[in-house]
């Protein structure tokens, strides 16, 4: 028996110029905040952007966006609703605020289902908020979206960077494109993460200051972009993502299904 869903994924993503997974080896480093703010910043720069919350068991981008009462529309699959200019897809449409206790195989199945039925249409960027680690979600993205790019988030903590190194090793081994590393929640001027990133042969995209006021901006996208965190991520978006020559990725890739 053959699972027919996997054959349509490439087609569903074919009109998206760049797909960026915001990822980390460790939880709690601010991936969701970086992913959401990055997506909003790209939108503010006139791009058509989608945001896909792939952290199925602990989704939080809907809280950052202040998304309420959103539902996708049925049209030859599911068309994501738009919030603050973003096309937004999340498992919360189907599970609400209830817990979704999923094992690895379930995460994989739900991911394939949503990739197969979501009609993103034409986008400049699809930003994906990843769950932490090198489990099912990242392996499935490598398997199904050969052209995906990774933006890696760490904190100044040695513990976070240690897990980042493992993720980088996996991605490099699988010849995946890594845009670079951002150092989140920076509280001093130490340059350990920057030099370690360079030692790995990766681009250090910048540091994002620790901002105790960021909590007040949760649920308010305009305020979020005005915080020190928002401004820094916008700057990283302009200098490291928008400045890159747009890649013509329309159509099938050799290692896509």
């Amino acid at each position: 028996m053959i699972d027919p869903r996997t054959s349509i994924i490439s087609n569903r993503l074919s009109k998206i110029n760049r797909i960026i997974a915001v990822s980390s080896g460790k939880g709690g480093v601010g991936k969701s905040m970086v992913a959401t703010t990055l997506a909003l910043s790209l939108t503010m720069n006139g791009c058509k952007v989608g945001l896909f919350d792939l952290d199925f068991t602990s989704p939080s981008t809907h809280v950052i966006l202040g998304a309420q009462d959103l539902q996708p529309t049925e049209e030859k699959g599911l068309i994501p609703p738009t919030i603050h200019g973003l096309e937004y897809m999340s498992l919360i449409y189907f599970v609400g605020d209830n817990p979704a206790p999923l094992r690895g195989a379930d995460v994989s199945n739900a991911l394939i289902e949503l990739l197969a039925i979501t009609q993103w249409g034409t986008l400049d960027f699809l930003v994906i908020d990843m769950p932490p680690g090198i489990g099912d979600a990242i392996l499935d993205l490598i398997r199904f979206i050969g052209r995906i790019e990774f933006l890696i988030v760490t904190t100044p903590s040695l513990l976070a960077f240690e897990t980042v190194k493992k993720q980088v090793a996996l991605l490099c081994d699988q010849k995946m494109h890594i845009i670079g590393v951002v150092e989140n929640m920076k509280q001093d001027k130490a340059r350990g993460v920057e030099s370690e990133t360079c030692n790995l042969g990766l681009k250090f995209l910048g540091d994002i200051p620790f901002d105790s006021q960021i909590e007040t901006a949760i649920g308010n996208s305009s305020l979020l972009l005005e915080t020190a965190v928002g401004k820094k991520i916008s700057q990283i978006a302009r200098t490291n993502i928008l400045a890159e020559k747009k890649k013509a990725y329309y159509g099938l890739q050799s290692n896509d299904f």
């Binding site: 027919p4 054959s7 349509i8 609400g96 979704a100």
Partner: protein
Amino acid sequence: MKLTNATFTKERTYSLLFRNILLKLHKEGYFMHEWALAEAILSSAKQIAEKERVTTVTEVTIRVGELQQVEPPILRFALTQMKQGIFEKTKFRILKAKSTLKCRVCGTAWQYNTKKVDKATSEAIHFVPEAAHTYIKCPKCGSPDFEIIAGRGVWLEDLKGVK
């Protein structure tokens, strides 16, 4: 039962009536999820046919799991609306599979009963069957940690064709 001309005409009338109702609902935006799945089935079948150098696909057998509640008449309608090229003469066989869930904690196996869940839950599971882990619990021990061992979603079971 052997169909007489009269019963054949009657059945055909119902069939056309049903098709027209589905077409109307399709235009009004209903049942669109089945369209995405039908598209995936044809895409997958096309890949297999090309690999096997099949020029005309005569029959495609599809297995639909009870958990996702994909309606065979709607899926068939979507498939026939979309079929072209190597699928122009294809007959679609759609078979159902009972959905069996098995608790990982106490080992109880049970069958998912669509009639026992409310509409909103049923719809969530229809789009993403893994949402079942949010709404369904083991009838014996109450755990949400169960395995969907049969009848989850849509599978391409067999393909017949002419080379």
